[in-house]
Each structure stands twice: as C-alpha cells, then as structure tokens.
C-alpha cells in the first residue's frame, strides 16, 4: 500500500516537473491514434457485414466469408499474380540500375558533368505521378507520340501502347526505372563515398586499372549496402506504385495491370464494397508485415545490422 502511494507520488512529481514534455508529445500521439490506429480498429470490417448505417462496431460478424469470396474470385487472384509479376520484374530490372548508375557516376572525373548528370537524373523523383503519367501518355500517344513517330519513320505500324495488355508491364517497369533509378543511386553513391581512398591508392600502386578497381574494390566494398537494399526491396515486394497504375491502366489492360491495391481501390472506393475491399487490404497488410519482419530478421543475421 505504501509502495503504491510512493509510486503514485513519484509519478505525480515527475509529471509536475516534466508536463511540458508530454504536452509537446500529445499532438503526435493523438494524430497517430486518430489517423492510423483508429483505422486499425476499423479493420474488423474485413470480418463483418459492414453497413454504413450501423457503423464499424454494430455491423454483424461474418467470419472469414469475405476471404472465401476473395480467394474464389478470379479478379483477386489475378491481382495477386500481377502484383508479384510487376514487383518481380521491377526487382530484376529496377534493382541493378541504380547500382550501375552509381558506379558510373563514380568514374566521372569532371565534377561539372557529374553534378549536372546527377541533377537531371534525380529530378523525376520529385515530379508528381500525374505528370509522369501525363508524360508517358503523350510520349506513347498513338497519333502524335514521339515513340510512334519514330516507329512510323522506321517503317513500322504505329502501336496503341496503352490499350494493349502486353505492353503495360514494360511501360510500367520502364517508367519506374526512369523515375527512381537516379534517386535511388544516392544510397549507393553514399556507400561508395565511404570507401577508404587508400584502398584505391594502394591498388593503383599495385598496377590495377579502373575496371579492376571497380570490380575488386568498389563493388565488394558496397556489397553490404547492396544486400540491405535488396532485402528491403524483397520485404516490400507487395508494394507497387499503384498511383501510376491507376493513372495508366484501363479496362483493356486490367489483365496485366490490375494489382491488389488497385483492386482494393476499385472494389472499395469505386464500388463501395467496403468490407470485401478491407479484407483484401487486410490480407495485403498482413502478408507485407510478415515479409518485412522476415526481411529484418534476415538482415540482422546477414549483415548484423537491423533495419530499425
């Protein structure tokens, strides 16, 4: 009893002394609760027959019904497949590009050219998805787009790229690389900057050429960074740039373009099937969570550094 009293009086004293700290913290915590944790509570509609009028809490439970519906739905299975395929390609083609760019920048001897090139390749990262989509649309436009002008000039027929499902993946992956490869290279450039310069000097004295230095010094030195980035990418494999997809896809390309997030968007926000869409989103979030945790565990084992 006395202990409890002592404890409470300690707490009270602490709060009297440090109340300002809690006042400063309050907006952040309230914001996180109101905008991120209340929705987590709302996730229960994935297991309910949600009715707008009854609200989250009062809607009746239906167990896993929505999940059965989802896994029997061809569209949802297609969305999972597309998500994995787009992510996989993105990993295969998108992951090496920033490394190659960083290695390339590192070989530049003229600071001016290096800086100019960097300024240009970082830029698309800061441009809105709507503009990126607009650029893609006009560049690939069937009548006046510069790609088709080139094709016609070389004697081919013009192609309506954006309505043909087989073209969606290359265009989406290519756009992603175009937009992000430059910016992502910063991470690798930072790693390269951390390599001890005396390694290069001693290699030079040993008679190594630039190519050998790149393969035998630079690349092995930044390998830990590469591995960490790779693990992060694999952990985030369910994340595809769905905003760009929403802007670029159309019913004729759903076959290759529709991913989980766009499926959730269409079912939930456009067709108002909130509970079903929430179930799809819940599935996505749980799998993503497990993947990220796994990635972190692997990263801890492999590189002895945790991502958080």
């Amino acid at each position: 009893m006395q202990n409890i009293q002592q404890y409470t009086s300690r707490i009270m004293r602490h709060i009297r002394a440090e109340w300002q700290l809690y006042l400063l913290l309050a907006p952040t915590i309230i914001w996180f609760i109101v905008f991120l944790y209340v929705p987590m509570y709302g996730l229960q509609i994935a297991f309910k027959d949600y009715s707008i009028f009854k609200g989250v809490a009062a809607s009746p439970w239906v167990g896993l019904e929505h999940f059965y519906t989802l896994f029997e739905s061809e569209q949802f299975m297609r969305a999972i497949k597309n998500t994995l395929i787009l992510s996989g390609y993105n990993l295969l083609f998108g992951f090496p590009m920033p490394i190659i760019l960083a290695l390339g920048f590192n070989e530049f001897t003229k600071a001016f050219f290096k800086r100019t090139a960097q300024t240009v390749v970082y830029l698309p990262h800061f441009i809105s998805t709507v503009i990126i989509a607009g650029i893609v649309m006009s560049v690939f436009s069937p009548s006046v787009g510069v790609v088709n002008l080139l094709l016609v000039q070389m004697g081919f027929d013009s192609v309506y790229f954006l309505v043909q499902p087989e073209w969606f993946r290359p265009i989406f992956i290519g756009t992603g690389i175009w937009q992000e490869a430059g910016f992502t290279s910063i991470v690798f450039l930072a790693a390269i900057a951390g390599v001890n310069p005396s390694l290069y000097e001693s290699a030079l004295v040993d008679g190594a050429n630039r190519w050998q230095m790149m393969w035998r010094i630079t690349l092995p030195s930044i390998l830990p960074t590469i591995i960490i980035m790779l693990i992060i990418r694999i952990g985030n494999i369910l994340e595809v740039g769905f905003e760009l997809i929403i802007l670029l896809y159309q019913p004729s390309t759903y076959e290759t373009a529709d991913v989980i997030s766009t499926y959730v968007y269409r079912q939930g926000l456009q067709n108002a099937q909130y509970d079903l869409a929430a179930a799809a989103g819940f599935f996505n979030a749980v799998v993503a969570f497990v993947l990220v945790l796994t990635a972190n565990t692997i990263s801890k084992r492999v590189t002895k550094t945790s991502l958080w």
């Binding site: 991120l36 929705p39 990220v292």
Partner: protein, 292 residues
C-alpha cells in the same frame, strides 16, 4: 583522380562509362524537353507529328487557354493552400513530437517510439482510412486534406534521430540556466537542427505539391481540387470532349499542347525549389538511417 594518370585502357573505359551514363541522363531529360516543346508549339504542328525536340510554330496559345481558365487558377490556389498549410501543420506536429521522443526523461519512451515506428510496417490500408476520414467528417474539406496527412513515422524518426545526436550537455546546460522544454526546443534544438528541419520541410512541400490520390478520393467539390487532380481531370475529360476537339480545329492549341502547358505550370514551382532540395536531400538521406 587525375585523368592524365590513366592508361589508354582506362581512358577507353572511362569514356564508355560516360557515354552510358550520358545516355541515361539524356533519356531522363528528353521527356521534359519534349513536353516543354509541345506546350509552346501550335496544335497543328503537334497533331501533324512535327514536334520532337524544339517547338514548331512557337505560340503561347496553349498557355493563354490554360491561364484563362478560372478553374486552373483555383486549382493552383488550392495546391498552395494544401502545400503551405499542410507543411506548416506537419512541422507543428512533427518538431515537438520528435523532440519529446528524443528526451530520455520521457516515461514510456520505448512504447511511444514503438507506437510511431509500428505504423511503418503495418498499415490498416485504404478502406479503413477512408471510412475513418468519413466518420470524422473530413471528406471534401481543406482541413481534412491538411490534417489527415500531417504526420508520418518516417519524418518523425528522421528528426528524432537528429535530435538524439545533439549532445546531452546542450540540454543540460540550458536546463541549469533555467530553460524549460519549450525554451530548450525553441532556442537550442531548432537553431541547431536547421539542416534536418529544412530537409523535412522540403519533403513535406514536395509530397504535398505532388499529392493526388487522396485528394482525388476525398474531395468532391470542384472548387477544392488541387492542381494534380485538376490536371488528371483535364486529361481524362478533354480526350472525349467533342466540343473541345471541334473548338481546336481552327485554334492554335490542341488537347496535347494544353495538357503539356498545364504540366509545365505544375513542374515549374518544383524546379524553383529544386536547388534547395538538392542541397538538403543528400543530408536527408544521410540522416535517414532509420533506426528505432
């Protein structure tokens, strides 16, 4: 390293690399040049496929048409409201929060930090977030867009890590001088953290300026739409708008030049702050060693 020291093979290698990186750089730059060229060309020059790099039949007709649309100006104004209002509110929440989370004397610090970081790995997703915004009555409102996206775990952790790097003796000296937490934050931490705060400010500005998805989902009222949503509507609507297409027959602008002009108008402000972004995002990336 001095290029003169290179052997012939090294020079060849260096030139190959520069050509490759140069090609990538040009292909990054080209679409922007193309869009700018289209926006300054006549509609006829574009539709007849003459425009590739430089503007043909230089005209400002597309800009005239865009700038004379009150909806464009309204969208521009809205984007400014969302960008500056949003950034201001973000800083108002993030800076004090990051400060408190960095203080060792905060009780339950591990718990609060976990609560923030957890949202980076697990997210309720689109639908519950939307329904929550609706339940809060924040649909179709300026305030909803500004407050609903004011915070994120990444920015808080970024700034908190920076704050944690400030030596304890600064805080302790200030405390012994009689400074309270508000004063320590205002007179010591904020002046000492200018680069980190600048980085976060720029992150916020860019994210706000470019934000489109949730504005599209949450806003119904045309008067409240930001530039990006307006642009998307223009692209989506003008394509099928026969009245518009027929109106362009004799005009100097076309669907292509008008959309290109809007894109240019939307990119220019980003280009204007781009030098600052460049200065700070390198630092930001370095700060971003996100650790709990």
């Amino acid at each position: 390293m001095n290029m003169n020291l290179y052997s012939r093979g090294d020079k060849f290698f260096a030139i190959c690399i520069m050509v490759l990186v140069g090609l990538f750089t040009l292909s990054t730059l080209y679409p922007f040049i193309y869009i700018a060229a289209v926006s300054f060309s006549s509609g006829f020059a574009v539709t007849s496929g003459q425009v590739t790099i430089v503007p043909i039949d230089i005209t400002f007709a597309a800009y005239d048409r865009v700038l004379s649309d009150p909806m464009f100006w309204n969208a521009y104004k809205n984007t400014f409201i969302y960008t500056f209002g949003g950034t201001f509110v973000s800083l108002l929440i993030i800076i004090p929060g990051a400060y408190a989370l960095s203080r060792p004397q905060l009780k339950g610090r591990r718990f609060w930090n976990f609560m923030v970081a957890f949202t980076m790995w697990f997210n309720a997703g689109m639908i519950p977030f939307f329904l929550n915004m609706r339940d809060l009555g924040l649909l179709d409102s300026y305030f909803g867009i500004i407050i609903g996206f004011a915070c994120n775990a990444f920015n808080i952790i970024l700034l908190r890590n920076f704050f944690e790097g400030i030596p304890d003796s600064f805080t302790e000296a200030a405390r012994m001088d009689g400074a309270n937490d508000f004063q320590v934050l205002w007179k010591v931490f904020i002046p000492l953290s200018k680069p980190a705060i600048a980085t976060i400010t720029l992150f916020c500005i860019v994210a706000r300026w470019n934000g489109f998805f949730w504005a599209m989902v949450l806003l119904q009222d045309e008067d409240k739409l930001p530039l990006q949503v307006y642009l998307r509507r223009v692209i989506a609507e003008l394509t099928d708008d026969e009245e518009f297409v027929s109106s362009t027959v004799n005009a100097l602008y076309s669907f292509e030049t008008v959309t290109a002009a809007i894109m240019v108008c939307s990119i220019v402000p980003i280009l204007m702050i781009y030098p600052f972004i460049q200065k700070y995002f390198n630092k930001g990336i370095m700060l971003g060693g996100v650790k709990e």
